[in-house]
């Protein structure tokens, strides 16, 4: 989609420090990143490099130590209106059923109850969980919980999706299925996405651009434009030579990182 307009999300010289009970951890340093309107950007990087931290800053949940993050040119103060986040842990409400968890953003928006339920139904089907509406999170498997969290964010339908390993605990097939659906949805409406994953193939298959981060303190190490035509066949694209080339390059960048940096 649109590769033309001013950046939707713009991060400049961002640094984040955690300071808790006297200990100080620099999680991010000098991060500079733009996401254009309707662009799909993936972030990969070694465990603990600050990817989740980055998302939290964009979501307005953390205050940076230095630098700025702005959406549509406006610096982020508090939680911006435009973002929707899938947390690395699922952040489901344990006391609400699956249905209630998914309809939460709709209820906040004040949709009529009937519509909430219809939409919820649709989304649960999309993530392969119809029939589980009345279950409590405790009664779900790890992957099912994640899918509920996904459905919830889809229900919110924000301008910018912030997704922290959304497909982490899913098996390869479910992953493909939901990834495909998400991509189709994205193709249709063209939201901006900041997507964190550990799966390089997934990153390439979905994104317009892949960002590689270095080990802690996280910096941006490399960027790769993914010049593959859309709409892409989510699974079969993997056999494209361009894809393979990219995969190798990113892998090399990261391998370099892990042996060198991560302590």
């Amino acid at each position: 989609m649109a590769n033309d307009s001013q950046p939707k999300l713009s991060i400049r010289d961002l640094a984040v420090e955690y300071k808790s009970k006297g200990r100080q951890t620099v999680a991010l340093e000098g991060v500079r990143l733009d996401v254009r309107d309707g662009e799909f950007v993936s972030v990969v990087g070694p465990s603990g490099c600050g990817k989740s931290t980055l998302l939290k800053v964009v979501a307005g949940l953390l205050q940076p130590a230095a630098g700025t993050a702005s959406i549509d040119g406006k610096p982020i103060e508090g939680v911006p209106d435009q973002i929707g986040m899938v947390f690395q842990n699922d952040a489901l409400l344990p006391w609400k059923t699956v249905t209630d968890n998914v309809r939460l953003p709709l209820a906040i928006k004040g949709l009529p109850e009937k519509e909430q339920l219809r939409e919820t139904e649709r989304l649960l089907k999309m993530v392969g969980l119809e029939g589980f509406g009345s279950f409590f999170p405790k009664q779900l498997s790890g992957g099912m919980k994640k899918r509920v969290a996904l459905a919830r964010t889809f229900a919110y339908d924000p301008e910018i999706y912030l997704m922290d390993e959304p497909f982490g605990p899913l098996d390869a097939q479910t992953r493909v299925k939901i990834g495909e659906q998400f991509l189709r949805m994205w193709d249709a409406v063209g939201k901006s996405v900041l997507f964190i994953t550990h799966d390089i193939e997934e990153a390439i298959a979905m994104s317009d651009r892949v960002i590689v981060m270095s080990a802690r303190p996280g910096r941006i190490k490399a960027e790769f434009d993914v010049r593959l035509a859309r709409p892409r066949p989510f699974y079969d694209i993997r056999f494209d030579p361009v894809f393979k080339e990219l995969q190798k390059e990113i892998w090399a960048q990261m391998a370099d990182e892990t042996t060198g940096g991560d302590s």
């Binding site: 986040m85 344990p94 939460l104």
Partner: protein, 267 residues
């Protein structure tokens, strides 16, 4: 599937998950009750002086007698009014106060120590002052109960909020939830466990509060009846009053349990 059929559903073999049949639970309770009462009955007058501990049979007789001449309801109704009225007001007030203070920023830090100081005030000593301030009627007695109840409610609500999962609040924020939504979807459910604790602790507190209130300036109520009996050296009367109070506590507790079972279904 020729293998042996086990007891049915998958059950955690481990920690605190076993469920017991209703009958075995209630039977056990009855047995415990019968045992205590039986021992009391038999030992009273034998192992120890029956004057100071009375006897279940005497107490039972007294209760029947009181039902007969209407005294039971006469005294119990007032105590119930005071206790339940005070409990309701105190719980609501205390909880609101706790939630409010927990979200009040630095204000919390200023006020909190004084709340705990007030909590430690012996209400018994305040009873006469309460009469001066609030008169002698039902109001002043309900206020006494409120004074007993409100702090535990406050404290538990406050502590419950301190223990809310920050991630869930963050999640709500990302959906631009207004505080009414946060309250309904996260805060209240999160502190439910704490509120239930505080209701249960407060049932006892409320009853004690009404008894203390009735020490001063009353002419009915179970607390009055106990004091009166004490003055008459009528230990059976004292114990009858105490037993009735315990009975109220048990009934109220069971009510709370019913509510709890509904509210904590998700666990």
């Amino acid at each position: 599937m020729a293998a042996k059929k086990n007891k049915g559903a998958a059950r955690s073999a481990s920690f605190r998950e076993r469920e017991y049949s209703k009958t075995s639970v209630w039977l056990g309770r009855l047995v415990v009750l019968a045992l205590v009462l039986g021992l009391w009955e038999v030992l009273s007058g034998r192992a120890f002086n029956s004057f100071w501990l009375s006897k279940p049979s005497l107490i039972g007789g007294r209760i029947v007698e009181m039902i007969g001449d209407g005294d039971l309801w006469f005294h119990m109704s007032v105590t119930l009014q005071e206790a339940i009225g005070g409990l309701a007001i105190g719980m609501i007030g205390g909880t609101l106060l706790g939630v409010g203070l927990a979200f009040s920023g630095i204000f919390e830090k200023w006020i909190y120590p004084y709340m705990m100081a007030l909590y430690s005030l012996p209400r018994v000593s305040l009873a006469p002052l309460f009469i001066v301030w609030f008169g002698i009627g039902l109001t002043s007695k309900i206020i006494m109960v409120v004074a007993m109840v409100i702090f535990v409610a406050f404290y538990n609500a406050f502590e419950g909020i301190r223990n809310i999962d920050k991630d869930l609040m963050d999640m709500m924020s990302t959906y631009k939830a207004k505080w009414t939504h946060k309250l309904r979807w996260v805060v209240l459910p999160s502190i439910t466990v704490w509120l239930l604790t505080s209701v249960r602790l407060n049932i006892g507190m409320a009853l004690i509060g009404s008894v203390i209130a009735e020490l001063v300036g009353s002419n009915r109520g179970l607390g009055y009846y106990i004091t009166y009996s004490s003055n008459m050296l009528d230990t059976t009367g004292i114990f009858t009053g105490l037993v009735l109070i315990m009975a109220i506590a048990v009934v109220l507790e069971q009510l709370v349990l019913l509510i709890e079972r509904r509210l904590l279904r998700y666990r």
